[in-house]
């Protein structure tokens, strides 16, 4: 783990004033805690990616192919022809600066190359030099810049300092989306084998084993069954989930992070309890055991390669439709890419809730429904018996995850669910939620420990908004519907706002859900005493 300064020190030394030297003349220094390890050869070989080798971004020699520059420029030319977004975004920026202070990484680091406009200029300068007449003739005067090895390394550094959160694109008067630019820049980096291992590793795992964490089928089943035991210990109810079961009505897919580590595991227990209580005819899959898609952080092609499993498995098992769990970028992929890439899903049926009969028209193309939409519908139709006082020990706020927010627009559904399962709920300030929500600082495959300095910086705006409601209303729980959030927000809270925990929305659903035949609940899913039950806990001991 990278050594990082204390929170107070980091905050005190933060300045947003750019250096004296112009950005083209300021060399990029790879600072400790702000870059990720290079992709290992073994992971790239699994995926058949070019130039597999072991390397480190701090090496002087990155072992690039001798014609790397041609490959990159040819790759750029090809992508300009394939993506109107890229060609347009290269041409129309007026550098008004509206995006500059909207980026969490700029706010937290003060590094001017983290301003979205400048991040894009890193690529745009090369585009001008190589693909525009003015740039070819006037060079630097026209904002053009030669693609050198230094420029290439700078790309690696800064395009892996962007979480593709799209916050800047909300404010851009032309809708220029840095996520789009970063996605394509990373594709270019990948053409010569310059990915980071925290992405390449999970992608290789997911490709071969079905999920990012590389959990093999038998282990996947074991792990879920472990939570079945936990639930039984909690309320005496024995749940019997099924795996790879043909003929189930619904295939359920959620990020593997929820199977692996808390607090995501409590969210997973919430899923199990909810499905059991409503008697849902569903199955897990060990083959499509990943909702997330780190391929999205590699290239469009890799996103498609990983995403293909969802429809393929739904078809093999013969289910009617797919239900997806709480995950961030998974939902951008499902909403904006899946049907286009791997559809049409004409072998599935339009999602209908078997419990309420609600037809989900808004998912009739992809045939994939968000669990929070599904649960909101259950609550609305009075199908769940809920005791929100079981969450009275929690004082909750909600973090909109970037992708469901700005790549989908899922705002009201989670709030509706939370407000039905919790009594204490407070919103963070309006500039930090909904479409203006701040990233956790670790999205798009940057949730690795060697990147911790930048993660804490990038998470500062989010944490600062949490601190506001923590101080003002005593908020002690940051709820979210994203697995990366659940993994990375706890250390972020410990760093900036100690005393605030992180919970998935369905963890709180699981707490509040009154199940038929349950024994008296004295604790929440974490074994923490419920409000008013502190004494009974003591008696047990």
């Amino acid at each position: 783990m990278a050594k990082i300064p204390k929170a107070s020190e980091m905050a005190a030394t933060l300045s947003h004033i750019p250096p004296q030297t112009g950005w083209m003349d300021t060399p990029t220094e790879f600072k400790q805690g702000r870059w990720c390890y290079g992709a290992k050869a073994k992971n790239m070989e699994v995926l058949g990616l070019p130039n597999p080798r072991d390397w480190s971004p701090t090496d002087a020699d990155w072992k690039l192919p001798s014609n790397w520059k041609e490959i990159i420029l040819e790759g750029l030319r090809e992508r300009i022809g394939r993506f109107r977004s890229l060609r347009l975004f290269m041409d129309i920026c007026v550098r008004c600066g509206a995006c500059a202070d909207k980026c969490h990484f700029f706010i937290g680091s003060g590094d001017p190359k983290n301003m979205p406009v400048l991040r894009a200029e890193l690529l745009r300068s090369v585009y001008r030099k190589e693909f525009t007449t003015a740039g070819k003739i006037l060079g630097k005067l026209a904002g053009g810049r030669e693609l050198t090895e230094e420029v290439f390394k700078e790309w690696f550094y800064y395009f892996f300092q962007c979480t593709e959160c799209r916050r800047c694109s909300v404010f851009c008067p032309y809708g220029i989306d840095t996520a789009e630019i970063t996605i394509i820049a990373r594709e270019l980096l990948n053409l010569v084998g310059c990915n980071i291992d925290w992405i390449a590793g999970p992608v290789a795992n997911c490709y071969q084993n079905g999920n990012h964490l590389g959990i093999q089928p038998h282990a996947f089943k074991d792990m879920i069954e472990f939570f079945v035991d936990e639930i039984e210990a909690l309320n005496g109810i024995r749940i019997e989930p099924t795996f790879n079961r043909k003929g189930a009505e619904i295939l359920f897919i959620t990020p593997s992070g929820d199977v692996f580590a808390d607090p995501g595991t409590y969210t997973l227990m919430g899923y199990l309890m909810l499905f059991h209580e409503i008697g849902l005819d569903y199955t897990w899959s060990t083959y499509a055991s990943e909702g997330g898609n780190f391929g999205f952080f590699t290239s469009h092609e890799m996103m498609k390669r990983l995403n293909a499993k969802m429809y393929a498995e739904a078809k093999r098992l013969g289910v009617k439709w797919i239900l997806g769990g709480e995950c961030g970028h998974m939902w951008r992929v499902v909403n904006q890419y899946m049907d286009t890439m791997n559809g049409p899903a004409d072998f599935l049926e339009e999602p209908v809730s078997p419990i309420t009969g609600t037809k989900f028209d808004s998912a009739k193309g992809t045939k994939m429904l968000h669990l929070v939409e599904f649960t909101a519908d259950l609550i609305r139709n009075g199908k769940l018996k809920l005791d929100p006082s079981r969450n009275d020990h929690l004082n909750v706020t909600f973090h909109d995850s970037c992708n469901p927010a700005r790549g989908m627009g899922l705002f009201e559904e989670p709030r509706y669910v939370i407000q039905n399962v919790c009594n204490n709920f407070h919103e963070m300030p309006p500039n930090t939620i909904r479409e203006q929500t701040f990233c956790c600082g670790s999205g798009s495959g940057l949730n690795t420990d060697e990147f911790l300095d930048m993660r804490m910086r990038g998470g500062l705006p989010r944490a600062n908004a949490v601190k506001h409601v923590h101080d003002m209303f005593g908020v002690n729980t940051l709820s979210t519907i994203c697995a990366i959030d659940r993994a990375v927000l706890p250390p972020l809270m410990d760093y900036w706002v100690p005393g605030v925990g992180v919970a998935g929305v369905h963890e709180m659903v699981g707490n509040a859900l009154v199940m038929e035949g349950e024994t008296e609940r004295t604790t929440d899913m974490r074994g923490e005493p419920l409000a008013g039950m502190e004494d009974s806990e003591d008696e047990d001991i």
Binding site: L14, I17, P18, G81, R84, S85, L88, I92, R95, C96, G97, A98, A100, D101, I107, M115, L118, E121, G143, R166, V170, P173, Y174, G175, I176, D177, E180, Q216, P217, H218, K221, D222, F243, N244, R245, T286, Y287, H300, R305, A308, K309, E313, Q336, Y337, D339, T340, F360, A363, K364, G365, T366, M368, E373, A376, G407, G409, L410, Q436, L460, N464
Partner: protein, 330 residues
């Protein structure tokens, strides 16, 4: 560097036109040839650039969703910031193009000790941009009086409204004031906000200075030197009727003004000024968020290598059987 270079460039252009007319008698060049060449470059350039953009497909439906999606019927969706229909997209685009809605969201970061981060009210950029574009539009429309005979009613109407606050003669146009104020603001913010200065290129200063100088020469002609409008109209009508004439008695300043306008038109297609047509094509704004409802087709969608279930089962069959997981082949 950018500021000095741009300033020098604009000054050079001014001097070239001035000297050319004054000492070399190049009225024909600056009053006729340059405007025609500029217009030709402008139209072919803009069309070429837009066709280039249109040539690249939009493979994915990637609107930036800035409001509640359309999902359950009892949840109110935000049809403008997250449109799911064509009508919604038209509304979103109209707000974007006519009122600069996204820019209206702008805030200013205030980083204070603690740390305490605040996002302060900042509508000046939005206001100045709106003022700049609309006053430019009004000035442009008013100039139609030089290119039409008889002068259309809306041009005269606009002049009446524009001169509502009459102070002395000649009529003081509000749009002139607004135009100069807005351009000046946009320039000043570019040099005094450190981050904006840091990102600015010569290509950002040059058009601002050029446009400022166009405005300034126009205003001087109108309010100070009081040019011979009758002769000028003869020239401009000659241009639009393709019977160019150079009447006597038009001062150098006019040719400077016309030359700078010609430069602006000629420069337009090769510069960031293309944001004007570009915004119409922006895929994060001009598409409905309906890709879960109807399939968006990518014209270059190609097959990719996947790890099939059969390969997966082959790899794990024994472990799966042992764990009691169903398999296709025993």
């Amino acid at each position: 560097m950018g500021i000095n270079f741009s300033l020098m460039a604009v000054l050079t252009l001014v001097l070239v036109a001035f000297a050319g007319v004054k000492f070399m008698g190049l009225q024909m060049f600056f009053g006729v040839v340059a405007p025609y060449a500029a217009m030709a470059l402008f139209f072919t350039g803009v069309i070429w650039r837009v066709l280039k953009w249109a040539e690249s497909p939009v493979p994915f439906r990637i609107p930036t969703t800035a409001g509640q999606q359309k999902s359950l019927p009892w949840i109110k969706s935000n049809g403008l910031d997250n449109p799911s229909t064509k009508a919604g997209v038209i509304g979103r685009m109209a707000l974007e193009i006519l009122l600069f809605r996204s820019l209206f969201r702008n805030t200013k970061l205030e980083y204070r000790e603690g740390p305490r981060i605040a996002y302060e009210w900042e509508k000046w950029l939005w206001l100045a941009s709106l003022l700049f574009h609309y006053s430019f539009l009004v000035v442009f429309v008013r100039h139609l009086r030089f290119f039409t005979e008889p002068i259309p009613f809306f041009v005269q109407g606009l002049e009446t409204v524009d001169s509502l606050f009459q102070v002395g003669l000649p009529t003081l146009y509000l749009s002139d004031l607004a135009f100069i104020a807005a351009v000046t603001y946009l320039f000043i913010r570019r040099i005094i906000i450190p981050q904006v200065k840091y990102i600015s290129l010569p290509a950002d200063y040059f058009p601002l200075m050029l446009i400022f100088t166009i405005g300034a020469t126009g205003i001087i002609m109108r309010y100070v030197t009081k040019v011979d409008v009758i002769s000028i109209k003869q020239l401009t009508m000659g241009l639009v009727t393709f019977h160019p004439v150079i009447p006597q008695g038009i001062g150098e300043l006019f040719f400077v003004h016309v030359f700078l306008v010609s430069i602006l038109f000629a420069y337009f297609p090769f510069s960031k000024l293309m944001h004007a047509p570009g915004v119409f094509l922006s895929p994060t704004r001009n598409m409905p968020n309906d890709s879960r409802i109807v399939r968006h087709v990518n014209p270059w969608n190609y097959p990719v290598p996947v790890h099939t279930y059969a390969e997966y089962e082959d790899h794990f069959r024994d472990k799966m059987i042992e764990a009691g997981l169903p398999v296709e082949k025993e």
